[in-house]
Symmetry: C2
Subunit: 411 residues, 2 copies
């Protein structure tokens, strides 16, 4: 008998019929003698509908009342799923964020979970009741309703699993797991059996939208094993867990890409202390996130500074940077939105040398010019011309033999 937290996203509960299918899956796991907590999102489309209503009512709706409106989406789903479970003869009870309670800070629209009080849920689970919990929401210490921000249901599930010391957290989604790369680009992309928290974090933030980054951070912090699998098929998913010796054997686990960034270069910046701070402060103040930053050694007391921002921030960022560039007497500012970031990720990089040079060789072998390079312990990213995105992904996937059988696969 295990304690399992299962999370079903918006498309999995997109209609009452789908909710009934989910109920059957949950009932089966519960019927096998497991304690089950189910976390659900709003029915697909519902959150968008509610958000649109708030924007009709107010020019800047984000705040306490926005959360009051938007949190109703999940509340509807928990009630319906509990009804569907009862219809199957299960004992089930729904819980809103404040009924659990899931206590968060008061940052409306993007609150962070501070504490989950488990007494109530534990009592119900020990009583044989399936607990159906609203994802994405909580309550602040003053009793105000809060939401965790988009995708927050994953975080709710992982946080509940951590608080309840669950044996497993299953995240059901519309993909079957985590792949070595985008199967839409690379035909022999392969589903991974296992991936480490760190690898998943690098992949999630690089564009493989399988799990919310925050939920993976939570899972890593509390060491919660997370199984990502499809809510529509019975296929085996991908287990996101602590790095083990087996994983380190695999140098590269996946190739990811991101076409949503743009590059800005500030040319011939006087190389004085405090210049970089002066350059990035206005961007921070404008809420613009900077991703990669590259600064090389200087010549004649001048250097070039290049960084990337999301495409949607590109125009605003260019305007702000041009203003500062004039003040600090840089020579020029050059922007290019036609770029892509291609990355290889793998826990095994830590113990294997020569991965970076192999990546550069592979790309240059295809005549692809590398515009920027950035590395972390388990990731190497290169910025290339956007037209080479798919080619880069394919040659790297091949070169690191990712189409081959997963060595972490259980025999």
């Amino acid at each position: 008998m295990a304690l399992i937290v299962q999370k079903f996203g918006g498309t999995s509960v997109g209609s009452v019929e789908r909710i009934k299918n989910i109920a059957k899956r949950v009932a089966k796991v519960s019927g096998a003698g497991n304690k089950v907590v189910v976390v659900v999102s709003a029915m697909s489309g519902e959150t968008n509908r509610l958000v649109a209503l708030t924007h009709e009512a107010s020019e800047f709706p984000i705040g306490r009342e926005y959360d009051v409106v938007v949190s109703t989406g999940e509340q509807v789903t928990i009630g319906l799923l509990a009804l569907a479970l009862k219809e199957l003869g299960c004992r089930a009870k729904s819980f809103t964020g404040h009924q659990v309670p899931i206590i968060t800070d008061s940052q409306f629209g993007g609150a962070r979970i501070e504490e989950i009080k488990c007494e109530r849920l534990t009592a119900e689970l020990n009583n044989g009741v399936i607990a159906v919990v609203a994802g994405f929401q909580g309550v602040d210490p003053e009793g105000n309703i809060t939401t965790l921000g988009r995708g927050g249901s994953d975080t709710t599930a992982v946080a509940l699993a951590a608080a309840l010391k669950a044996d497993l957290c299953e995240i059901y989604t519309d993909v079957e797991g985590v792949y070595t790369t985008d199967p839409g680009i690379c035909q022999d992309a392969r589903k991974l059996k296992k991936v480490s928290y760190d690898e998943m974090l690098e992949m999630a933030s690089l564009g493989a939208k399988v799990l919310q980054t925050r939920s993976v951070e939570f899972a890593r912090k509390y060491n919660v094993p997370v199984m990502v699998k499809s809510s529509f098929t019975e296929a085996q998913g991908t287990l996101v867990c602590k790095e083990d010796a087996e994983m380190e054997k695999v140098v590269v686990s996946g190739v990811t890409y991101n076409k949503d960034e743009a590059k800005i270069s500030v040319l011939r910046v006087p190389d004085r202390p405090g210049i970089a701070a002066k350059l990035f402060k206005p961007l921070t103040e404008a809420g613009i996130n900077v991703d990669m930053i590259v600064q090389n050694i200087s010549h004649d007391s001048h250097t070039d500074l290049t960084f990337t921002v999301t495409k949607s921030d590109f125009k605003r960022a260019m305007k702000l940077v041009k203003e500062v560039a004039a003040q600090i007497e840089a020579k020029d500012v050059v922007g290019d939105p036609n770029i892509a970031k291609v990355s290889i990720v793998g826990a095994g990089m830590r113990s294997h040398a020569g991965v970076a040079s192999k990546m550069f060789e592979v790309l240059s072998g295809e005549g692809i010019n590398i515009q920027m390079i950035s590395t972390s312990e388990i990731k190497i990213s290169c910025v290339v011309d956007v037209k080479y995105t798919e080619l880069s992904v394919r040659v790297l996937h091949d070169a690191f033999e990712l189409g081959k059988e997963d060595v972490t696969e259980e025999k």
Copy 2:
């Protein structure tokens, strides 16, 4: 400076545009220096949509989870109205039933308010905040979400007004007030300036669907003056309040009718103690409400017993009564769904004789046969053939001179 509770129903908040109009009205009252609590229903159509979802998920959805789903309708409205009020520069905050808290019993789908804790609301009101409260919902002592049943938003408003010792409770609806009779039937129907709680109760239960019966009972119990008025015009409404000397001068305040009942007669019932109980017990057990009951003196130790039920219960009631009739050796059971109940209501009846005989004379003067008669202190009801409904209403309205100027009108 007064403390005013205002309640707006589903059509008044049927779209974000209408919610913005309501916000303007509320802002005006608040801007004049009053403390304002606003109670709102779900946007029109929303409760029906949510109820339909629960019926899709479960054959018998009524219970804890039904309330979880259905209560979200009001939660959306409070958030949107609070946003719209802020957009106008007001300070406003929304409150769900559990945030107030409005404590009810645990009868899901039809809970009764047991206590309202006012500390939080009072503090906010003293702070200059407009409190926007979700109607129709509460929380039971275990923290479960409850709903008060259809139309419960009126009760929420009146109960809040009672608990907060408000100076006035305004119920905004899609009619302009309480009329002497249905203006659709009688062209010279007139809006009443004032009506007593007792009169309103008789009128509401007889079919003038202006205020929920339970809310009027609440208002009477705690002596809350309730103003019924239109949410779409600025017209003066009808004040529902304690009976005063002026009201007693008016013998008849209104004529109401109800076509939604059916008549069942049990013929030649043996006149023995316990027979009536035997007859009605199965109906009670089946949840069938009996309205009028008439039993006359007996002949040869036998009597006829006639009663009415709602049309929707007619067939079930006939079946049950026929079974009992056979057991108690009654001669026969005869049913007739083609009836209407026409009533005159007036606080002045208490002190004026001859009202009943005048009613009977007026009806017989038109050749209308009276099938059943039932009276209370301030009401006389007659059952007639349904085809005479409109005629009966018109001649009674004329005979009691209800088209004349309201004597309770302020000069």
